[in-house]
């Protein structure tokens, strides 16, 4: 299976940056757009953003590293995010997270060796009345139980 993301290309990166440069406070918008295209924010893009927005490299790097969402390197083919916040904890989320970790053989925050699955914590999807909840590649899933988490993990491994 090929990646849904484009490989990094400086000209394409410059094009994306230029698209959003006129916006007020464009840095986050640009970082999101780059990550959407390439699956992560490639290192060479940082000085390009800085030069487009008349900022220092350090400033852009600071923004990039401040936010949990932005990736330095590509994630696994599938990203499974498990909600670890209080409402999901109250509904048994801790045990399900441990179960997913055991099934995948990795701790939260890591990618499997075959690069198929990245398992991440997320702090609240706003699905607190149908907890515990998760998100697989942007698809939300609620009322998780052992069977449903197993199915999600299996789907992610495919």
């Amino acid at each position: 299976m090929t990646s849904i993301y484009e490989p990094w290309d400086a000209a394409r990166g410059a094009e994306i940056i230029a698209q959003h440069t006129p916006l007020e406070g464009a840095t986050l918008v640009i970082l999101h757009a780059l990550q959407e295209a390439f699956g992560y924010v490639p290192e060479p893009a940082i000085p390009m953003i800085a030069s487009a927005l008349n900022l220092s490299r350090a400033e852009v790097h600071g923004v990039f590293t401040f936010y949990h969402d932005f990736r330095r390197e590509p994630a696994g083919r599938h990203v499974l995010k498990l909600c670890r916040a209080e409402a999901c904890q109250a509904a048994g989320g801790d045990a399900l997270a441990a179960r997913a970790e055991a099934k995948l053989g990795i701790a939260l925050g890591n990618t499997t060796a075959d690069e198929r699955v990245t398992l991440e914590p997320i702090y609240c999807l706003g699905l607190c009345a149908t907890a515990p909840s998760a998100m697989l590649d942007g698809r939300v899933v609620g009322r998780l139980n052992e069977a449903r988490i197993d199915a999600l993990v299996a789907e992610a491994q495919r």
Partner: protein
């Protein structure tokens, strides 16, 4: 005749199979040769019944739920025949859980098509704006003040005063910012209203713009809410096409443009000054106040920054409802609060009620206790920075001041229920851990204190010099509470101290002496 069927597109309903149900309904109707129209609405907020689907009948909309994809075709048969079905709930508006609410802000949520300006207008939408345009700024501000509305994000600051400050500040450019960075666990009202009735948020922001003389607005939505981002963007486009955004709104001399910006997974950006920094394209580092955002906010310009629910309350108030709104509530908490029941709860969802309802009524009566059927031991009110309340405090009325008097806060109105299997020292540790993960790093009590807090609670949990370490935690919480720049470091002590105070036995210490019921 075409059967009109309503299926929620709310993320909470989609997460439990609403899309699949809609798909099966379509296929089943095709097979039967029945003409149906599926309207994707928001959620009514009765999440334990989601996916809840409704059919238009002469008696009103009849609901069925919770419907799985396997039930969908038999439900369709019951809809066609009008016959009985085990999942039939009766007329939706008559469901007791819904009927006992006071839905002012959420009146349309789950009812209308969130993509349709026409449907919004057909359900009293834009009446507030139309009246606001005839009133002018001063009278709008007077109405907002009369309503007694206080900021629904958690701080409870009077909205009328905030708006008036911005209105009185001279500048060539002013901004309206909607804080939709709803990061508190146990809260989902912002998400629901953005997905289910986005025009009410747009209308509220537009009224604010007219009141203070702003021409540009931003809605900052957290990235964890892709469905809300999509719904708001679609609604903004629709409002522009209908002449409700852009130049000369509704044929008036006012112009107002609105844009969605997406956060990037930083909880602290729910704090207003951090949110403004983030909108400006910087690290979400908290700003010291003063200057207030009302004087120097986004890009240094006077800015109204309010929570989604504050803006969403405005159209009702401006449509002639200021006095009616103020007539609900108790003390200085006027109007209604969309309360969110979550966690280990039997009947979880959105319950909009006048201030004054007690915590016990909400948890036991409305919420039906825990889903696991075990006794309720603790509830956390107001998100990760809110206090844990034991059953002994269930007589606390839902009111800003009443919760503050008991060392808690109502915050954004989320209530997370825990059963008796909860380990409160673990929850206290999580509060510190969460603060450590999410701290912006600007002030020391929050940045360092949270990490020291985790370490110290770990020692307590390991039985290491428990009384001494509890004293350290209490001291640390005091420092964080009074020494932090914003609510993240300043309020993290609430869950920690409340857990210690009310559930001391979970910290390896002797339980507190029985306190007389207050």
């Amino acid at each position: 005749m075409t059967l009109r069927i309503f299926v929620s597109r709310d993320a909470g309903a989609v997460a439990v199979g609403a899309d699949e149900v809609a798909l099966v309904l379509g296929l089943a109707a095709h097979k039967r040769g029945t003409e149906i129209e599926i309207i994707r609405t928001g959620s009514r907020g009765l999440y334990w019944l989601e996916p809840m689907i409704e059919v238009a009948t002469p008696q009103g909309r009849v609901a069925f739920g919770p419907v799985t994809e396997f039930d969908a075709s038999s439900v369709l048969d019951a809809m066609i025949s009008g016959g009985a079905h085990p999942l039939r709930l009766g007329v939706a508006d008559e469901i007791p859980w819904l009927k006992r609410q006071t839905r002012l802000t959420f009146a349309r949520c789950g009812v209308v098509d969130p993509r349709s300006v026409a449907d919004y207008r057909a359900h009293d939408g834009y009446k507030g704006l139309e009246r606001a345009l005839t009133l002018g700024p001063d009278a709008i501000l007077a109405d907002v003040t009369t309503s007694g509305l206080r900021g629904r994000g958690g701080a409870g600051f009077p909205t009328g005063i905030k708006w008036k400050t911005v209105a009185q500040t001279r500048a060539e450019r002013k901004y309206i910012v909607c804080n939709a960075d709803e990061g508190d666990s146990g809260t989902f009202a912002d998400r629901m209203i953005m997905e289910g009735d986005p025009f009410v948020v747009i209308e509220g922001m537009t009224i604010a713009a007219i009141a203070v003389g702003a021409t540009k607005g931003y809605i900052y939505i957290r990235s964890e809410y892709p469905h809300a981002v999509e719904a708001m963007n679609a609604a903004i486009s629709a409002a522009k096409r209908a002449g409700y955004l852009g130049a000369r709104i509704g044929g008036s001399g006012h112009s107002f443009d609105l844009e969605v910006r997406v956060g990037a997974g930083a909880y602290v950006c729910g704090e207003e000054t951090s949110l403004l920094e983030s909108l400006e394209g910087r690290r979400g580092i908290v700003r010291a106040k003063p200057p207030l955002p009302a004087h120097k906010g986004l890009f240094g310009k006077p800015t109204v920054i309010n929570n989604v629910l504050s803006f969403a309350a405005i159209p009702f108030i401006l449509a002639g409802g200021a006095k009616a709104y103020a007539d609900f509530g108790m003390g200085r908490s006027r109007g209604t609060m969309p309360i969110q029941l979550a966690g280990n709860i039997k009947y979880g969802g959105l319950f909009e009620a006048a201030f004054g309802i007690t915590l016990g009524e909400l948890v036991d009566d409305v919420g039906g206790g825990t889903l696991t059927g075990r006794p309720v031991r603790a509830v956390q009110v107001g998100g990760p920075l809110g206090a844990y309340f034991p059953r002994a405090l269930f007589d606390t009325p839902f009111d800003y001041e009443a919760f503050a008097a008991r060392d808690g806060l109502i915050g954004h109105g989320g209530i997370v229920v825990f059963d008796d299997s909860v380990d409160m020292s673990k929850q206290a540790r999580f509060a510190m851990e969460f603060c450590a993960i999410e701290s912006c790093g600007k002030c020391t009590p929050c940045r360092i204190g949270s990490t020291r807090g985790v370490e110290t609670i770990d020692k307590i949990r390991a039985g290491d010099r428990v009384p001494e370490n509890i004293a350290v935690i209490e001291d640390l919480c005091n420092t964080m509470k009074f020494g932090s720049l914003c609510a993240l470091g300043g309020f993290t002590p609430y869950p920690v101290m409340s857990a210690l105070k009310h559930f001391r036995e979970d910290f390896g210490a002797a339980p507190p002496r029985l306190q007389a019921a207050e």
